[in-house]
Amino acid sequence: MTDWTWLVPLPVVVPLSAAGLALALYRRPTLQRVVSVVALTIVVVVSGALLVLADEGPLVVDVGDWAAPVGINLVVDRLAALMLTVSATVTLCVLLYSLAQGQEDDEESAPISIFHPTYLVLTAGVANAFLSGDLFNIYVGFEILLAASFVLLTLGGTRERIRAGTIYVVMALLSSVLFLVALAATYAATGTVNLAQLALRLPEIDPGVRLLLQVLLVLAFAIKAAVFPLSAWLPDSYPTAPAPVTAVFAGLLTKVGVYAIIRTQTLLFPEGRLDDVLMWAALATMVVAILGAVAQDDIKRLLSFTLVSHIGYMVFGIALSTDAGWTAAIYYVAHHITVQTALFLVVGLVERVGGSTSLTRLGGLAKIAPVLAVLFFVPAMNLAGIPPLSGFLGKLGLLEAGVQVGTPLAYVLVAGSVVTSLLTLYALVKAWNKAFWQVPEEQRPPTHLPFGMVGPAAALIVAGLVLTFAAGPLYAYTERAAAALAERTPYVDAVLPDGKRGKGVSVDVTEEAAHGDDAGEGHG
């Protein structure tokens, strides 16, 4: 097989360069749109290719040709490739949706010239977090996507958005500082931040210190992933943003946190000493957040609460620490990104037709827009886990994995997840009934639904259905991904062949200085 590693950096490089280009083209809106659509299409194609290639084994690029533990490296294994593909598809669909919305409304309250560059930077940050092979680069990826998300969330700078943005920005900064502290502690304890080298070195250090590092990292990621009790910021900050922005946030940002938890828990801390804590956190996330969703009167906020609640499922899968658990968790992540994003896009359409997102004001939409009723119904049922949709398959996988583990705590979680999915069904059916069937206060005239907006939303819903029809091969793929995570050696060997240095060339660093323990990173 020829060497395809040059594809690996493209999901980061292409959107970043396109962002620069789009910023330069701020006077030419049409060209700007072309640039962003082309860039994201390239990312989708490249990540699709990486998905196939990574199935053979992880691909590694030493950035700047510096050998692995010293230099920065980008790694694509099955998990990263899958996350990359799903997120790229979702971002492309949301971009098309927002293009149509901008065209339809002619003048958005948001300055469109800033939207495109920022959106592309967000994509680059997400890709960077998925690809990076060292903790510090994950931090940089997080900061890139956070900085972009700050701008997108406060677009236009209206009262509501500034209020919501404040909470979000302060929380994000706090979790970043926590992550930074975790990084410093990791470096002080092990002398490296490279994931592969950490996997080799962590077992050698004091177990107490190792537990401290694990707790610090999990805390930092749990804030980003909105795991209870660190999730209170999310439902307050997401719903005020424009529909496409909320959609892409809901789909991607928390999932980057989930990805980071999966990566660090499996690769760095395989002994799973926090598993019980994570299980309790997962249970609380699922149940508390779904109760919050039931109490809501606003569809956007209701969906934000279901988003938090369903993070609990993924944490449950991770905390089981078995191949089956990880398989189900990875499948669930892929399913949830598509479905949750699709739902938020549809709610954007509901707001357009019904003029509000409040369930007390909406009503009778089924008569005005029957297509919309179907568009809402399918992903809603998918999220609630009605058979045979992909949400059902993901939940079934989790339940099976939980029963396999068989501890009392696992059974409690199994019960908790069943209750949660019933409550999800209740909350969504309530929303569906109120928005589409109750008698409205005032009759609204039928609104024209622009095809450009319906199309991408429908495409995402179909993508969710494809996850159902292609469940066999996809589940097999996530199974292989989980097996590779459990085995750990493929990842480490790809980055550091034979436990030595990566394939890059570093001038002035001799071979023997490289792998003595006291030589540190060859700098001492």
């Binding site: 930074l180 410093a184 606003d298 001492g524």
Partner: protein, 167 residues
């Protein structure tokens, strides 16, 4: 063997920075939160220097013997972290200014929707007597709920109506 003992002055400085930073973060005013974030960020940056071990000669190959150089990697990471903190502080500052422009203060505000949900219990109590008022033209529960939702549209009359409803 490299000397890894941390510098006591640095550790004390970190303790002071983090304490002050956390204290300021608990404030309501956004500009104080900003100062708190900057202090916390600098505390984390100093922690990186401690993580690099004891101070040594400049980490330049050829200028100093290899055994006595300080570790360049944490310094490179601190540099990145400083730049990132600077950029994000600038954004937070802009947001505090925007908040002042809009409200004439930069207080972090409560979520109105949360308060509304918290009031639901009070409305529920009224709902038991609502059957009587429903026929007589009094406000129904749905009307009340719709009125309270108005609060987010910052209508002053609606707010007072909502507050009365909760009493």
């Amino acid at each position: 063997m490299i000397d890894m003992s941390p510098n006591l002055v640095l550790v004390a400085a970190i303790a002071v920075l983090v304490t002050a930073g956390v204290y300021l973060l608990l404030e309501r005013s956004l500009s104080r939160v900003l100062v708190g974030v900057v202090l916390l960020g600098n505390g984390a940056n100093l922690l990186f220097l401690v993580a690099g071990g004891a101070a040594g000669r400049p980490p330049i190959v050829g200028a100093t013997p290899e055994g006595r150089m300080s570790d360049p990697l944490p310094q490179a990471m601190v540099l990145t972290a400083i730049v990132i903190t600077l950029g994000l502080s600038a954004f937070l500052l802009a947001m505090a200014y925007r908040s002042w422009q809009l409200h004439r203060h930069d207080e972090v505000q409560d979520d109105v929707e949360d308060r509304r949900i918290a009031r639901l219990a009070a409305i529920d109590e009224r709902a038991t007597t609502d059957d009587d008022t429903e026929g007589t033209g009094g406000p129904t529960l749905d009307e009340e709920a719709a009125e309270i939702r108005d609060e987010t549209d910052e209508g002053a009359p609606a707010r007072t109506a909502a507050e009365e409803a909760s009493r």
